[in-house]
Symmetry: C2
Subunit: 350 residues, 2 copies
C-alpha cells in the first residue's frame, strides 16, 4: 500500500507527463457523450451543427488529439509498414528508402526503418513487428539469408513485398526489382567490346539472388575468362579482395567488375595504391550508380539502378492491397537499368 501511494500522487511532485485529454474529457466538458464527439470528428454520422460547434471548441481548448493507438486497435490496422534493408548509409538503399517513404506517405502510411546490418537476429526482431501486427505490411529489401525460411513462412500469412530481391522457390510473392540480369549483360557486352578478355568479378554473398543474376548476365554476355571472388557489398571487401590478389602476385586481369559501386570504390583504391592506373592499366565497373560514382576520380562506369523507383514501386504495390485488407497476389515488376559509361573503363591495354 505504501508503494502504491508513492506512485499515485507524490504530493509535492508534479507528474512526469500530464495525462493528455481523452475523448471522455472532451465529451464531459462539452456535455455530450463520447459517441457524439467521435461523430463530430469523423463525420461518420450527422450531428447538430450547434452541438458540433460546441464540441469543436472544446477540442481546441483542450488540445485534444485522438489517440491513434486506440483507433488502430479498433480498426485492426495501424497505417504503418516496415522497410527492411541492410544498410541505410548505403546510398542505394537510402534512395530506395526515399522511394518507399514517398509512396507510403502518399497513402497516409508511416514507414518504420528496419536497418539490419545483415544481422539475422536483428532481422528477426524486426520481423516480429509484422507478426505482432504493429505494422500492416513489410517491404523487404535484401535480408540475411539465414532468415529466408522464416520469411517464406511469413509471406503466406502477412503482406510482404520484395524489393530488389528474389527468393528461390518463392513464386507466390509481390516483387519489384531492377533487371539485374540485363545489367550484368550490359557490363559484359561493354567490356567485351572494349577488348577485355580476362575480368575479375567481385560478387556479393551467393545467397543474394540479385547478385547472382548480375553475375550470370555478365558471364553470359562476356564470354571471356572470369575470375570470381566473393565479397560482402562493402567498400572494405572490394579493397581487401583486390589488394590480396595484387599481393599474391598480380591481378592477371584487365578489368574488374564489382557487383556494386562500393566494392568498386574499394577496388579502385587498392589499384591506385598499387600504382596501377585506372583505366589505363585496369578498367573498373560498378553497379548501382550511387551518387558518388560520378564524383569519384575517375568517374565510375556503372549500371544505373532505379533505386528510387524500386522502393516506390514495391511499396505502392504492397499498399494497394494492404489498404484494402487483402494479401497481395504474386506479381513481378522488373524495372529497366542502363549502363553509364564513364571514365573508369577504356580499351584493354595491349
Amino acid at each position: 500500500m505504501t508503494r502504491e501511494s508513492h506512485g499515485q500522487h507524490r504530493a509535492d511532485d508534479r507528474p512526469a507527463v500530464r495525462r493528455p485529454a481523452s475523448i471522455k474529457d472532451v465529451a464531459a466538458a462539452a456535455g455530450v457523450s463520447p459517441t457524439t464527439v467521435s461523430h463530430v470528428l469523423s463525420g461518420n454520422r450527422p450531428v447538430n451543427e450547434q452541438t458540433a460547434a460546441r464540441v469543436r471548441s472544446v477540442v481546441n481548448r483542450l488540445g485534444y488529439v485522438p489517440a491513434s493507438l486506440a483507433r488502430s486497435l479498433q480498426a485492426g490496422s495501424t497505417s504503418v509498414i516496415g522497410l527492411l534493408i541492410p544498410d541505410i548509409s548505403n546510398a542505394f538503399f537510402a534512395e530506395l528508402a526515399k522511394g518507399a517513404e514517398d509512396a507510403a506517405h502518399d497513402l497516409g502510411y508511416g514507414l518504420i526503418l528496419c536497418n539490419t546490418e545483415f544481422d539475422a537476429e536483428r532481422e528477426d526482431s524486426y520481423l516480429g513487428l509484422i507478426r505482432s501486427r504493429f505494422v500492416d505490411g513489410m517491404v523487404y529489401a535484401s535480408g540475411s539469408s539465414p532468415s529466408r525460411r522464416r520469411l517464406e513462412a511469413l509471406m503466406g500469412k502477412f503482406p510482404i513485398a520484395l524489393a530488389d530481391e528474389e527468393v528461390d522457390g518463392l513464386e507466390r510473392a509481390l516483387i519489384a526489382t531492377a533487371d539485374h540480369e540485363a545489367g550484368g549483360r550490359l557490363v559484359g557486352e561493354h567490356l567485351r567490346e572494349l577488348g577485355h578478355r580476362r575480368v575479375l568479378m567481385l560478387t556479393g554473398p551467393r545467397a543474394l539472388r540479385s547478385g547472382v543474376a548480375r553475375a550470370a548476365g555478365f558471364v553470359r554476355a562476356f564470354r571471356g575468362h572470369v575470375v570470381e571472388r566473393v565479397g560482402d557489398f562493402k567498400e572494405a571487401s572490394g579493397y581487401r579482395l583486390v589488394a590480396k590478389l595484387l599481393e599474391e602476385g598480380g591481378l592477371d586481369c584487365t578489368a574488374v567488375f564489382a557487383a556494386n559501386d562500393l566494392m568498386a570504390f574499394g577496388a579502385l583504391a587498392a589499384l591506385t595504391e598499387a600504382g596501377l592506373s585506372v583505366p589505363g592499366d585496369v578498367s573498373v565497373v560498378g553497379f548501382d550508380d550511387i551518387r558518388a560514382a560520378s564524383q569519384i576520380n575517375p568517374p565510375l562506369t556503372t549500371v544505373h539502378q532505379p533505386a528510387y523507383d524500386v522502393g516506390r514501386t514495391a511499396t505502392a504495390q504492397l499498399l494497394q492491397y494492404v489498404s484494402r485488407g487483402e494479401v497481395p497476389p504474386a506479381s513481378r515488376h522488373t524495372l529497366p537499368v542502363t549502363l553509364k559509361v564513364r571514365g573508369s573503363t577504356a580499351p584493354a591495354a595491349g
Copy 2:
C-alpha cells in the same frame, strides 16, 4: 456477376486475411483464463509449470503472437519514435539516421522515418504522429523554418530532441550537435600554420546557425584577412562564386574555406579550370567529410562531422528519458569534430 466470380467465390469464401489468434483463443484451447496465458508469457507471476507447458504448447500450435497494439494501448507507450529529417538520400542524414536507428534498436525501440523534403506541410503531418501519441518521442533534425513555432509549442508537451540543429530562443531543449565552431577553428588554425594570410570563405545561408558557428570559429582562429561570400551549400554555388571572383580580376587569396564539401568541390573545379593548381597555387578546405571528399583529386582537406554519433547521441539521450516516461531536460551534447588533412592544402605560396 462476372466481376465477382473473378474474385473467387465470394459467398462463403474465407476472409482476405484470417483473423489471427488472440489471447482468448489460446486460453480457451489450453483450458485456462487469459490472465494465466498472460502470466505464462510475461513471467509477471508464477504459474504452475505443468499448466505453463500446456499453454506454451498451445501458443506454438496456434502461432500466437500478442498484438503489440493492445499491449501498447494498455502500457501507454508504443516503443516507437520518429526521426524527422529533410532528405534521407543525403549521405549526411543517412549516416545520422543509421546512428539513430542503432540507438533506438538497442533499447528495443522502432524508428519511423519522416522524410520531409523541407516541405512544411509534410513536416506537420509527421508531427501529428507525436501529437496522436503514436510515437513516444521525436528526433528532429533540421526542419523547415516555417514550422519552428509549432515545434516550439510541441517541445513543452512532448519528448523531442534536436539533432545537429539549433533553434534561436529555444533554450529548454535536448540538443546533440557537432561542434561547428571548433570545426571552423581547426580550419583557421590549420591555414594559419601553413602561412596563409588571406582566405576566401564561402559560407552557407546566414539563417542556419550551424553555418554561422563554423564561420565564427574560423574567423576567430585565423586572425588574417577574410573575404566572405555567401553560398547555398550546393556545388554550383561554390563554382559560381569562385569563378566570378577570378573573372573580376583575381582571387587575391591563397586559400579557400568552403562551409561544406560540396561547395569546396565547386571551388576546386573553378580553380582548376582557371589553370590554377590546388594546392600549389591555392589551398582548399571543406566541411563534412562526405565520402567523395577523400576520393576526389586532390583529396580534400576537410572537417569530419560525426553524423552517426550525432544521430545516435540525440536518440540515446531522448530515449533515456522517454523510456522512463519523463520529459527530457534541457541539455546540450556537443560532439567533437576532427580535421582531416589531405592533399588539397599546402603552405602558402610565396
